[in-house]
C-alpha cells in the first residue's frame, strides 16, 4: 500500500486553494513552497523571498487568518486553505487604511519588506485593534526592515489603528 502511495505522490499534485477570495487549482509537487507557487504559478509576486528560512518575514501571507512565512509552508499544507496576499488587501483601487498610513508616514522606503510588514500589521490589528507601541513592536518583530529603523512603520500602524477605530 505504501509503495503505490509513494509512486502516486512523486508526481505533480492538483492542489486547490482560495487566494484573495478566488478559488485556484495548481499542479505542483507537494513539497513546493507556498511562496514559489504564489509567485511562479499564480503571478502574485508581492510576497518576496528575503532569507528562505523564516527569519525576515518578507514572504508573509495570511493562511486561514494566521500570519505565516510562506517560504516555510509546503503547498500541500495549504490545500483548501484561504490565503490572503498583499495583492488582496486593497479593495480595487481603494487602498486599505494600513496601506495609506504606510504611504503617509514613510513606512515604506525600498519597499521589499513592505508587503510582509503590512500583512503582519493587518494580522496584529485584527487581534489587537488598539495596540500599544510595545505590542506593535512585538507584533512586527518577525519582519525585518533594513531601511527605516521601524520608527515610521510603528507610527503608520498606530495611525491606521486610530483611523480604523474612528471609522
Amino acid at each position: 500500500m505504501t509503495e503505490s502511495l509513494s509512486l502516486e505522490i512523486r508526481a505533480l499534485h492538483e492542489v486547490s486553494l482560495t487566494v484573495n477570495g478566488e478559488l485556484k487549482t495548481v499542479r505542483a509537487y507537494p513539497m513546493e513552497r507556498l511562496l514559489d507557487v504564489l509567485r511562479h504559478q499564480l503571478g502574485l509576486t508581492g510576497a518576496k523571498e528575503g532569507c528562505g528560512e523564516g527569519e525576515c518575514g518578507s514572504c508573509s501571507v495570511l493562511l486561514n487568518d494566521a500570519l505565516v512565512n510562506s517560504c516555510l509552508v509546503p503547498v500541500l499544507q495549504a490545500k483548501d486553505a484561504d490565503i490572503v496576499t498583499i495583492e488582496g488587501l486593497a479593495a480595487g483601487v481603494q487602498l486599505d487604511v494600513l496601506q495609506e498610513a504606510f504611504l503617509k508616514s514613510g513606512g515604506a522606503q525600498c519597499g521589499i519588506c513592505t508587503p510582509g510588514m503590512i500583512l503582519a500589521a493587518h494580522h496584529l490589528l485584527r487581534r489587537k485593534p488598539n495596540p500599544t507601541t510595545e505590542e506593535i513592536r512585538e507584533g512586527l518583530s518577525g519582519n525585518l526592515c533594513r531601511c527605516t529603523g521601524y520608527i515610521q512603520i510603528v507610527e503608520a500602524v498606530a495611525e491606521a489603528a486610530r483611523r480604523r477605530a474612528a471609522a
Binding site: T2, R33, G52, G54, L72, N143
Partner: protein, 288 residues
C-alpha cells in the same frame, strides 16, 4: 531554495491513526512535518536528508488542549500561539507561555509546535527548560499503542531522544500543582526577538519560614541537553536567601553545566550568565 521539490514526497493523512500506520509500515523512512519551522529551513538549505515526509499539521487529535482538575494535556501539534493564548497555560504554566511568546516572530509562533520543539531536541529550544521544571510527561503514540514517559528521561543527548522510529509525540501532560510557586524565566539571546538562546532559564521556587522550601531550576543552551540543576537545587533548599548563598549557588550552578564556544557565544560568557541568572532567581525568591 537549494532542494528540488521533485525529489521529495509529502503525504497528508487525514487522521493520526493513518500517520502512525504509515510510520509503522516503513520505520524510520518517513519524517513527520508539522509547521515546518525547522524542517523547511533544512530543506531550503539543501540539507534535509529525509526524502519522504508525512504532514501532521493541523491533525485535530494533536491540536487540542484538554484541562482536567489534575492536569493539562497539550496536544503536540499545538502552536506557540495556541500556548500563549490559552488561559490555563497563561495562569498556571507561565514559564511555558513566556517561552512560547519569545520563540521566533509571530508567523513562526503560528506554525511552530510544542511537539516539534521537543523532537527537534535542540539544547537551545525555548520551551524545554519549562517542561523540565514542570515535571512534564510525554505521551508517545505508535501502532503498538501509547506510552507515557517523563520528559526528563526523553532527551538523551545532543539532538537525541528516546522516540522510536515508528513513534510520534502525541501530547504533553503537566500536573496542575505549581500555582503556589514564584515563576522566573529569562532568555538571553543576541536580540530581543527572533533569537536563538545563548542561555535560558526557567525556574520555580517557594519560600516558607524564611528559607527556600522548594526550588526547581532548569537551563537551556549550556549542555548537550536542557538541564535541571539538581546540585544547586539541593544546595539552596532549606536555606535562607543571603549573599553567601548566592555566591555558592552560582559556583555550584556553573560546575553543573557544560557550556561550549560556538558561533553564538562563548563558554565563559554562558557560564557567567548562567550563574548570574541563578543568583537573580534566588534573589527574587528572597524578596518574595
Amino acid at each position: 531554495m537549494r532542494s528540488n521539490p521533485a525529489d521529495y514526497q509529502l503525504v497528508a493523512p487525514a487522521s493520526l491513526q493513518a500517520v502512525v500506520s504509515l510510520l509503522a509500515a516503513e520505520p524510520g523512512a518517513w519524517l513527520p512535518i508539522a509547521g515546518g519551522t525547522d524542517v523547511m529551513v533544512q530543506y531550503a538549505a539543501g540539507k534535509l536528508p529525509a526524502r519522504k515526509l508525512v504532514s501532521i499539521w493541523n491533525l485535530p487529535e494533536l491540536r487540542r488542549i484538554e484541562v482536567s482538575p489534575e492536569e493539562i494535556r497539550i496536544g503536540a501539534g499545538c502552536t506557540y500561539t495556541d500556548l500563549r493564548e490559552h488561559e490555563v497555560v497563561q495562569s498556571e504554566f507561565s514559564l511555558l507561555a513566556r517561552a512560547a511568546a519569545w520563540t521566533g516572530g509571530i508567523a513562526n509562533q503560528n506554525r511552530g509546535t510544542l511537539g516539534g520543539n521537543i523532537v527537534n531536541a535542540s539544547p537551545a529550544a525555548d520551551s524545554l527548560p519549562a517542561l523540565l521544571v514542570y515535571d512534564a510527561e510525554l505521551i508517545l503514540i505508535s501502532v503498538r499503542g501509547e506510552r507515557r514517559v517523563p520528559y526528563k528521561d526523553f532527551h538523551t543527548g545532543y539532538k537525541k531522544t528516546k522516540l522510536a522510529s515508528d513513534e510520534l509525540v502525541r501530547a504533553v501532560c503537566l500536573a496542575r500543582r505549581f500555582s503556589g510557586y514564584l515563576a522566573y524565566t529569562r532568555k538571553v539571546g543576541a536580540r530581543n526577538a527572533q533569537a536563538i538562546s545563548k542561555v535560558c532559564i526557567a525556574a520555580l521556587g517557594r519560600r516558607a519560614s524564611g528559607v527556600v522550601e522548594d526550588v526547581r531550576i532548569a537551563l537551556g543552551s549550556v549542555a548537550p541537553v536542557p538541564l535541571r540543576l539538581a546540585e544547586t537545587e539541593r544546595l539552596v533548599t532549606g536555606k535562607p536567601v543571603e549573599p553567601s548563598l548566592l555566591v555558592s549557588a552560582k559556583r555550584v550552578a556553573i560546575a553543573e553545566i557544560q557550556p561550549i564556544d560556538d558561533i553564538r557565544s562563548t563558554a565563559r560568557y554562558r557560564a557567567a550568565v548562567a550563574g548570574n541568572l541563578v543568583a537573580e532567581f534566588l534573589e527574587k525568591i528572597g524578596e518574595n
